[in-house]
Amino acid sequence: MSKAKAPKPKTGLARCMELAQDRKGLVYFSAVLSSLAAVASFVPYIAVYLIVREIVSGYPKVNGAEIWGYAWLALIGIAANILLYFAAIFCSHIAAFGTLYELKLKFAQHITHIPLGYHLTIGSGRMRKIMDENIESVEGFIAHQFPDFVASVTAPAVMVILLLIADWKFGLCTVVGIILAFFVQFMGYGSKEMKDNMANYQTALEDMNNASVEYVRGMPVVKAFGQSAGSFEKFSKSVKAYTEWVLKFSLGWQNCMPAFTTIINNIYLLLVPFGIIRAMHTEDYRSFAMTFLFYLIFVPAAAGILNKIMYVSESFMQIDSNVARMDEILNIPVLPETERPVVPASNDVTFEDVSFSYNGDAENMAVIGVSFTAKAGTTTAIVGSSGSGKSTIANLISRFWDVTDGSVKIGGTDIRNISQQELTKRVSFVFQDIFLFKQSIFDNIRMGCPDATKEQVIAAAKAAQCHDFITKLPDGYDTVIGTKGVHLSGRERQRIAIARAIIKNSPIIVLDEATAFSDPENEYLIQKAFEKLMKDKTVIMIAHRLSTIKNADKIIVMDKGHKTEEGRHSELLAKGGRFAVLWADYTSSMDWKLGGKAVQA
């Protein structure tokens, strides 16, 4: 996060304003409107005072016209309050929805330009959560909380000024009451004990949430081992701990909160004794009584406004962490795009002394000083145990990450000097996890080459061995993935993905063959599909089943990030090194049987 000379990143409110950008004016305007609305809410009180004054001063003669004028004033005040607030909320919503829209778009755009590797490590679930929840919260903040907050600051300020102007002595009494109310309230926040309780309560809440996830996730295992009672005990302990702390925390306010409520509803009690004393000594009783009445009528308005402040201040904390989550992703640097793109001369893939570490940490290298060349049109297999770095090599070819050291070249050109577009065109990556869009199968295949004709799509589907099952579907190629009743097995989906790669027809194919053993028929079909895909291409294959690579032009053996051996199958076997050990393990595991003698005690 902290870069040496970068300006301090903005957080919370400031950051929200920055996000609202060109809508800043609208946001401020809504804050002004909302403040005006709050001030307008005083008007009915003042109108009632004026009416009372009118009636009392002329009593028993009453000037109806004058009073009706004030009645209209009250109604206008009410209407102004409602309309101004409506306008405020409307402006703030337009700003908020607009900002939300732009933020989401910006976020979506940003994540297409960060190295794809981040998507693998961060995961789409978390990305989605950020888009759906964290970014969404900016909307509520701009739309509701911000204008309310501004109003809840300006309205009391205006009120205090009015109170002090009308009669500074009574005004002062009222202000003392307001200060007292806040003092009581913040007494609760300030105390050491309450801070501890707050921390404990937060921890307990977190514990309970984690425990609940673990409880449910582990339930199948726990049930399978007949231990659900113990697991329930554990979970219920965390629930009880939470309840205990939340109660302690809440009850910590049991005096402050009611005291606050009591004070803001009884500020008049401060005025009364003072008023009585003044009443006894005043020269002009009439005008004094009018002033006193004004305060008695107006002061209750304080209660509603002060209450609002309490609610608004809470929301400020949350927006901070929400915005921070989003910025975490937005701060990931985009993959640098070259200024002078070079079109590679051939489809040879070369690693030159490549080192790479996922976290930039020299201690934790995933690949160390690896060099090899995969000649155009040949098949190169990469083998090794899990964690040996073989998948990392595949990721580096497609530039999911940029190398830490050395270079990856295609046709002699460093891939960092090839335009993103050209690289995508040249390299196809066939993934283990297959994603199909909720579109027709036809569109899903055609994605590999957006201007392919219908015939070409069908030809690709045939080559990938999926034509048969597609035509058996109710709507054939027009079947939309994800519609009810359309169920494709994992193997069928994989074949569609292969068809997509076939139609794309990139000269370089990176293949992760991590296939689970499935039923024999499907397996066979997938292999045929692979054959079609790999024909005449430069293939880099991460192999798991060693029998698959017997005829590979080159086998690269990885161990703990280093390349330990390189050569053809027969050469490596003859050498009797690491590959020979892997091969022996492999053949013995393939011959393994369960049953018969194995089971006899």
């Binding site: 009632v48 009416i51 009584a289």
Partner: protein, 576 residues
Amino acid sequence: MNLKEKLYLSDKGWNDLKKAIIACTLTNLAMLLPFGVTVMIFGELIRPLTGGELDTKKLWILWGVGLVGALLVFIAAKNDYRKTYIASYQESNATRLRIAEHLRKLPMSFFNTKDLSELTTNMMSDCSSMESMLSSTIPPLIANLITVTLTCIMLAFFDIRLALCLFCTVPLAFGVILLSRRKQKQLFETQNEARLEAGGQVQEYLEGMKIIKSCGLDGAHFKKLDNALQRLRKTSVKVEMGVGVFMSGASMILQAGMGITVFVGTMLLINGRIELLTLLMFLLMSTKIYGPFLAVLSQLSSLLNLSVVTSRMRTLLSTPAMGGEGEAASGCGISMKHVTFGYDNEDVIKDMSIDIPEGSVTALVGASGSGKSTVSKLLARFWDVNDGRISLGGKDIRTLSPDSVMKKMSFVFQDVTLFNDTVFNNIKIGSPTATDEQVYAAARAAYCDEFVSALPQGYDTVLGENGGTLSGGERQRISIARALLKNAPVIMLDEATASLDPENEVLIQKALARLVRGKTVIMIAHRLKTVVDSDNIIVLDDGKVREQGTHPQLMEKNGIYRKLFDIQQKSMGWGV
């Protein structure tokens, strides 16, 4: 449906809620005291202006009464604070435990649902929102309703004409809200649709990112996302506007009552048909009375849609728990007789009969979708059959308690769940009564020793959430160690190993060989070579048993099995 059911409350919770409402009402009533005292002070203050004398003594007394009133407000507020918070936290405590307890009794099948973790997270947050509804929304709201009603009646005693003026707008305002409900609902529905659409686009965009990028489609998909988000933005503004218009309209109508009161009140005063003080009281009241109404008004729709909050809870708690009380017999031969079963309407298993003698090795073979994993789940009573019966040691498993069936079986499946706990405890889960020595022995027998001792704190290493740091092969060996420790007589094995590296595979196979010694083994086989020594190979297709027998018998029969076996031999030899 009444409120208690809508909120899904326990009896205690319901009683507590009632108490909380009463407490809130008392607070509201106490709050009228300052108002009453103010009105009376008013009366005293204007007396000199209308020809009377200023009675300071009376004012002091009123001040004293005001102080007592303030004390009462404090007591009432404290009482309602305690009542609402304590009650709501206790209630949600009870609800959380109730849900957890219920979860424990649900059939295993329930836990195979895809959105399970989401469901749980939602549930926990539902409990939290219930918590805040019960503490700070519902009781004050209902108390408001009660108090304003009482106030209406009280004011009517003073002067029915002005009371009518003050309240005549209430039904109108509520009428506007209720009438606009349909329109509002419509608006919310369009917004919801737009939101779902946008959510779907976001999901596709994120999950399909790899494809989108590798096919260079960011432009086209970005456009779709853009359109969906744009639409959401437009509908959202429209909805906000629509709802805002109704709400603002209603509250304006409501507060117009103030003007009517002033007009009528002044008329009455001019004509001498009302006391000055009564009018003043109504005027003061008119600044105060609409607040509670507005609160109710703005919460009305959420109050009417309460059941949404509890619907997820309801779904979960109404999922029936699995019955059966009996203890399993000592034998553990398994048989399936004329079993039919389907997850939805479509039968996946059709009139199937299978016999698995104690101590034998049975392999289930077939294409994906043939029903082989369903069979294994039925045997372990993850689900109950729709028709026919399954017996374990001669007893119908539906009569046995799910726990006692589980006691008989161990599972070694492909996806292994690990807990955020030490390696030791993760293995020990196989048998809580095992000694430390037994745990280590099981770990050694399952070839865990080597990789565990390479971990920073050996067996005491905490694995982190779902054991993220371990490789697939290591996880599987831990699950075998668990099963070894449990030492159940029946072993269910799903051999669908995502290709592991050869070293791991060899170790797992060795560990498995130890596990199955002397047991009744049921195995879902994918590599047919693995099963050639089985006592019985059952070939499934489309939910039915097509062939069964030993490997030589089936090869000789020259049927489906033979065909599958040959294809696999060929594909095993496939190379590039």
